[in-house]
């Protein structure tokens, strides 16, 4: 019995993992949620640097302001803003799922798309408000 089944058993994928599945939006966004979380982990250094500089005095604060105004600084800040909003919206989506809602095929796709559209939209909106109404980084 056992020997007869051996050849057939070998054909099976024993432990289906990431490379077996076609990338789906919910799966990609789950990975992005973890990536943005890890990015925000190190992004906290930026916030702390800013707070310490503000507490240290005008010279230290001027250095932070100079860095934020550079192209690299702006790109990092823009990425930080998106990662923060995206992780927050993704977190809300996960809380909805934790409560047992939104698991239908259409619902979970809709929720995932809303997270992506919402995070990009809100980030652009925040930066527009920041530049047009508040005068931007200076």
């Amino acid at each position: 019995m056992v020997e007869a089944n051996t050849s057939r058993l070998k054909e099976r994928p024993l432990s289906p993992h990431l490379q077996i599945y076609r990338p789906m939006l919910t799966m990609v966004m789950s990975i992005v949620h973890r990536l943005t979380g890890a990015a925000l982990y190190f992004g906290m250094l930026l916030l702390v640097w800013w707070l310490i500089a503000a507490a240290a005095g005008p010279n230290a604060y001027a250095t932070v302001q100079w860095f934020m105004e550079t192209l690299v600084g702006r790109l990092i800040l823009f990425g930080y803003t998106w990662a923060l909003i995206h992780h927050m919206l993704g977190g809300i989506r996960h809380l909805i799922w934790d409560l047992g809602y939104g698991f239908g095929p259409a619902e979970r796709e809709w929720l995932t798309v809303a997270t992506l559209v919402g995070s990009v939209g809100l980030t652009v909106l925040l930066w527009l408000v920041g530049y047009l109404l508040m005068g931007g980084i200076r």
Binding site: R34, G37, A38, L40, Y41, M44, L45, L47, V48, L51, I52, A54, A55, G57, P58, Y61, A62, T81, L84, M88, G91, I92, H94, L95, D98, L126, V129, G130, M134, G135, G136, I137, R138
Partner: protein, 132 residues
Amino acid sequence: MSETAPRSLRTPLGRVRHLGSARSGTRHFWNQRLTSVANVPLTIALVLIILGLLGRNHAAVVQILGSSFVALTLLLFVVSSIYHMWLGMQVIIEDYVHDETLKIVSLMANTGFCFVVGFAAVFAILKLSFGL
């Protein structure tokens, strides 16, 4: 059922290795969710505070950051976020770092990073508030 039947569901191998329940139940999961819920309003507040600081000079920024309501909001954001990211990075390390020594070192580094960054932020906010 003989008299030598095990009284526990744990396997003999598991007992020898001393690996099993950490006796913390779902506390880790729960605290991750608790801080995530707290982080939603706190993050919105942080973004609004930073938006309001754009274009202001150092003196104005210090005055606003040091005011009671803003400082308290920042403190809550930092404490809740640092705890949240401490738990989150722990899960990432446990998922991907399989070498036992490297895993323990990574978990310690995670704790160290969060304490250093967290206390630095708290210290800065308190310094801004009390103007020491």
